[in-house]
Every structure is written in C-alpha cells, then in structure tokens.
Amino acid sequence: MFDIVGKRFWFFLISAGVILIGIISLVVFPLKLGIEFGSGSMMTVSFEREVELSQLKQELASLGYGSAIVQRSGEGDFFIRTRELTGEDKTQLESDLAAELGQFKEMEFYSVSPRVAEETARNAAIAVAIAAVGVLLYITWAFRRMPKPFHYGTCAVIALVHDVLVVLGIFSILGGIWGWEINLMFITGILAVIGYSVNNTVVVFDRIRENLIKGVSSSFEVVVNNSLVETLSRSLNTSLTTLFVVLALLLFVGASIQNFAVVLLIGIIAGTYSSLCIASLLLIVWEKGEWGRFIHWLPLPVRAEK
C-alpha cells in the first residue's frame, strides 16, 4: 500500500514551491485586467483586404490610439482594445480605418465604463470570498458528528485557497507569455474550480469519516492513508473525465472560452492534488499538533546545502 501520509511534508514543499513561483510571477507579470474589470472598449474586426498587424497598429497610432492593444485573432481578423470609445469616437475611428485599410466587418464590440468595471471587480471578489465562507460553514456542518468538524472545514478551505493561488500564479505566467487578460469567464472558472476542488475534498473526507466510524485503525494517520488510497482511483478517474471535456472545449471552441478552459484545466489538476495531498494531510498535521514542524522543517534544505 502506498504511504502518502508519511511524505506529507514533501507534498507541502511541492505546493509551496509552485505557489512561490506563482507569486513571483504575479509580481513580475501582474494579471492584466480585461475590459470587464478594467473598463475600455474592444472590437473584433474582419478586413476584406489583406492587412498586416503592423499596418493596423501604425494606422491606429496615427489616429491617436497609440496605446491600443492589437492582436491577430484569425485570417484577416483582429482584436482591438482601446480606451472607452463614445459613439462618435467609434464612428470616426471606423470610417478612418475603412478609408485607410479597406472595408471591414465588425464582428464584436464591447464597451464598459469605469464605474461598471469597478462594480464588477468588487462583486467578483465578494463572490469568491462568500464561496470560501460558504464552503467552510457547509463542511463544518456536514462533518458535525465528527470530533473536530471545524478542522475539516478549515482544511478544505485551505485547499481551495491553494488551488486559487496555483491557478492565479500559473495563469500569470501564461498571461505574461501570451498577453492574456482576466475577464468574467476567468472568475467564472475560478468559482467552478472552487466548487470542483471542494467536491473532491469532500469525497476523501467522507471516506475518512466512514473509516473512523468503522474504527479501521486507532491511528489517525493510518485511517487517513487508507482513505486516500481507497479513493485514489475515483479521484483520478473523475478528474480525467472532466479534463477530457475541458480539453475539448479548449481545442474546439478556442479564444472566446480560452480563459475559462485554461483556468479549469489548471484548477482541476491542482484541485485533485490538493484534496489528496493538502486537505487530508493537513488534517493530520492539525490532529497531531505538528504546525511547529513547518518552522523547524523548512530551514532543513538550507542546512543540507552547507
């Protein structure tokens, strides 16, 4: 039988490493706000004539939109993000572009005022916070017959915070490379990951609850280890089936749902890992009062280098 429990501090170290890299990346490449959170206007245009990205950029700059973000999104299609355009600005910009670069079709146009953007960002943050509190309360309630129900709730919440941090960090690395912005689909993805991560954690906790009631062993560590091993194939299989569909979304729907699919992809992997290796193992740390070991143990690699 695998000994997962015994290697718990290794798992914590892996997570700490990934999160640390993520935090460094967040500092180096702060997440770019999409227009829903950062306000502005965005349009997708499709030119009839062949147009080069540099040509379009130059043209926009000469029209006074030098700070516009321009990306190619397909054959002759471009994404243009500018400051918030009023109706007149937009009509003017469109006729100027058409005059210089030929006719084009406008596929999509979004415009968000700063006030709306601020409101959206605030409510999204509130939603994530309420989700965490809701999960804490629910799990504490669901495990109310257990000796320390609050431990279960807290560990599940730590695991979900872990997942959110991992997603943010990795997303910032990818965003730094490909210039991705966070939008409302990103937040939707984050909340879906929270639901998914806790869903996984609860399945493992449920098994711990059952094994404790059955009295499998008097050692809490053995009970947790058994529960982890018993639920391992279920955890992996469910994650696999979910990954299949998320990959299909990512590959076949593409850009407009990309944020959502990427967040889920990272989140499902992180969520599976954290429910097995973080949430359950922290239960042991708490049960055995090992929190102090984090402090004693963390300098170890440094000493080993000497």
Partner: protein
C-alpha cells in the same frame, strides 16, 4: 424487487422518450417553446445598459421617470421590428436593453439614444456681429419657455404636399405649444425659424439646414418641409414615440455579429460531442459492462438536460455551454464513485446483487455532500451574475451547471442502478470481470 425494478425501468424509458420528443427536432415547437433559446453571444445582437441621470427629477418621482423612459424605448424598438426584445429596469437608475439577432447595431443604438427633441431657434446677432442661432423663447403663464417638439401632439404624420407632392411632416401643437408658437412666430414673420435636433441643425434632403421663413403666425399646427420620405417618416415615428424624459448615457455595450454566433454554436457542438465520446470511451474501457450502462445513462442525461434547457427555457450562452460540457465530465462522477465502491465489494467476495446495493448505499453520502458544495457555488455565481451588468455569461453558467449536476444525480444513481439490477440473477452476473477490472481480487 425485480418487479419494482421493471416498473422503474419503464418509467425511465418513458422519461427518455419524453425527453427526446420534447427535444427533437431542436427547432421544433413543444409546449410553446420554439427551439433552444440562445443568448446574444450565440445568435448575435446588442446588449446595452444605460444609466439615467436622475438629478433633474423631483425626489420620489424617479421610478416614474425611469418607467417613462422604458416606455419610450419600447415604442422606438417596436419600430425596428426586433423579435423578443428585452427592456428592463436594472437597479435604481439603470435600463437594460437587449436586442437579439439584430445586425444593424448602429442604427438601433442611434434610435434608442436619440433625444428626439426638435428645438426651434431664431437668429440673433451676436456680440461679434455674426448671426447665431438661439432657442426661440416666449413667456407663457409667467414663465419663459423654449419652443420644442415637446409641445407636439403625438400624432405627427407625413403626407405629400398638395401642390408639389414633396413629403411634408405635419404636426399639431398642444395648448401650451399653441400659445408659445403664436407668440414666437408672430414676432418672427419674415425671418427664418431654425429647426434643431438636439444641438445639430436638422438637415434636409439637400444637406442644407431646414430653416423656413415664417410667413404667417402659426397657431394650431405646422409642417416641416425638405426631408426625404424616409427621413420624414423616421422622424415622425420618433416624435410620436415620445421623448425620453431623462438623459441616458450608455455605461455598458456589447454587440455581436450574428455570423460570429453561428461559428460559436458549431464549435461548441463539436467540443461537446468530442467531450462526450471521450468520456464514454473511457468509462467503457475502464468499467466494462458497468461503463456501458453508465454511458447509456449519460446519453439519457444529455437528452434530459437539453430537453430541460428547451422547456424551462434556459438561455444558452457560450458560458452556459461551457457549464453543460463541464457537467458532462462531472456527471459520471457519481458513477465512478459507485463503481469504485462496487469494485471494493467484489473484492470482499460479494455477489453482483449485493455489490450493487452496498456500492450505491455507501457512495450516497459522498455523492450528496460533494454535490451540495457545487450547488453552493452555483448559487453564489447566480448572485454574482444578478448583481453585475455583464450578467448573462455568469448566470447561464451557474444555471446550466446546477441543472446538470442535479440531473446527473438522478441519472447516475437511479438510471444506472436500474440498468445494473437487470443483470442480477442472470448468467452474466457470475462473470464479475464484466463489471469491474479487478474482480474478486482479495
């Protein structure tokens, strides 16, 4: 037991048949629902949110002012002939306008945003000697008032001129307008009367501002000449629809071409199908006969959820499809939990019948508790969606995921168990290797 199982099986098959009947053909009408309702991002259209400036409205009359604005916008949109427009108040001072399937976004926006107020102006010599257009005012009932189309009766019409046949827009003044007009036109005889739409002069067909010379005092009714037929008709309709009583500014705008929407639908259908096929293959390869039964349950699941989307109806957006596709992956979770349990039961040497019953019973608490957390998150997402302007994607995701997970609890538990029970007592039941890959390994 078996008789009861047969009964449940018949109910399930009937439900499946009902779901298929309700769903197919997708575009067909069932219970008054025509096809699956698609969101703006999938069928194209405009989503605008306006903020009303209520500073000039008397306290306590805000609701009235907003309702008035909504009524006017509704009338104007009716001129466009949009099917299923949504015009709603949002929060204290916002108005949401959704026009699905519209391709002339600019025209629609101009029509909604129009002040639709004609203002009459007179030429006055400014300090620098140049002629300036200033609002024509007169004193009525002790107050100085500007002559505008606010004093028109809402029955303007366009008719051909009796002699020349050119279009003329005719209007009647209301009581107050008559007094103002009598006063103003009386003193402007022989001089031009400028007509302004908002701050811009109203331009005629020839591109020149329309500013007729007043020939006689105008008391009851007047006419505007010089517009083309189309312009005159549009203006007349706009004037009859009334004036928006409060200034509106667009704070959120989204317009999507219907062409783009069609692409999204095609791509999401591909993604959904490929996702389902991968999940089915995985389940069948890993769980064998049990996996086949779970796959049947998953197909039933797909039909039932889509039928619900159509009948409720749920407005399907790209995010909503994301939620549905995600729920396919999660829908088999309950089955995975149960089959893993059954595997353990086989290992302790139980028969198929016993393994099914204990497997399902033991997996139940995990299925229940884990799905409740998904429901909590769906509830929060729904709240988030309802509290923000760009609400559609978030709400649709929450709703489709919620329906998906709820239905999957039914299909994965009731449907799969019923199918599995059919094998109890048959010869196949002895071959536990059909139901699990590690049968009876102690």
């Amino acid at each position: 037991m078996t008789r009861r199982n047969t009964l449940v099986l018949i109910i399930i098959l009937a439900l499946f048949a009902f779901a298929l009947w309700a769903l197919l053909p997708i575009e067909g009408e069932r219970f008054g629902r025509q096809g699956i309702r698609l969101g703006l991002d999938l069928r194209g259209g405009i989503h605008m949110v306006y903020k009303a400036d209520l500073s000039s409205v008397e306290p306590g009359k805000e609701t009235e002012a907003i309702d008035g604005a909504i009524a006017v916008i509704e009338k104007r949109i009716n001129l466009l002939g949009v099917t299923e427009p949504v015009i709603q108040r949002q929060g204290a001072d916002r108005i949401l306008v959704e026009l699905p399937g519209i391709s002339e976004a600019e025209k629609a926006k101009r029509l909604i945003g129009q002040t639709a107020l004609l203002e009459f102006r007179e030429q006055v010599e400014g300090e620098d000697g140049e002629m300036e257009w200033l609002p024509a005012t007169a004193i009525v009932n002790g107050q100085e008032k500007v002559l505008t189309s606010a004093y028109f009766k809402e029955n303007t019409e366009v008719v051909p001129h009796r002699l020349t046949g050119v279009p003329i827009l005719i209007f009647d003044w209301n009581e107050e307008g008559s007094k103002l007009s009598k006063e103003i036109t009386g003193r402007l005889i022989g001089k031009p009367l400028g007509i302004f739409l908002g701050d811009e002069p109203l331009l005629g067909e020839d591109g020149q501002p329309i500013a007729p010379i007043v020939r006689a005092t105008i008391i009851d009714s007047g006419q505007i000449e010089g517009l083309s037929w189309n312009e005159a008709r549009d203006l007349s309709k706009l004037l009859n629809a009334g004036r928006i009583p409060i200034p509106l500014t667009a704070i959120y705008e989204q317009s999507i071409s219907p062409m783009l929407g069609a692409d999204f639908i095609r791509m999401s259908v591909t993604a959904g199908l490929i996702g389902i096929i991968l999940v089915l293959l995985f389940m069948i390869i890993y769980y064998r006969l049990s996996g086949v039964l779970a796959s049947l349950a998953l197909i039933f699941y797909g039909a039932l959820v889509l039928a619900l989307f159509k009948l409720i109806p749920v407005t399907l957006t790209l995010a909503g499809i994301g939620g549905f596709v995600l729920s396919i992956g999660m829908a088999v979770d309950a089955n995975v939990l149960i089959f893993e349990r059954m595997k353990e039961e086989f290992q302790t040497g139980r028969t198929l019948g016993a393994a099914i019953e204990t497997g399902f019973n033991r997996a139940w608490t995990a299925i229940r508790d884990s799905n409740v957390t998904t429901f909590i998150v769906c509830g929060i997402l729904y709240w988030l969606g309802s509290s923000i302007v760009a609400s559609a994607p978030v709400m649709a995701f929450a709703l489709t995921l919620f329906i998906g997970v709820a239905v999957s609890m039914f299909t994965a538990i009731v449907v799969t168990r019923t199918f599995l029970r059919l094998f109890v007592g048959t010869r196949l039941a002895k071959k536990t290797s059909l139901f699990s890959i590690y049968p009876g390994r102690g």
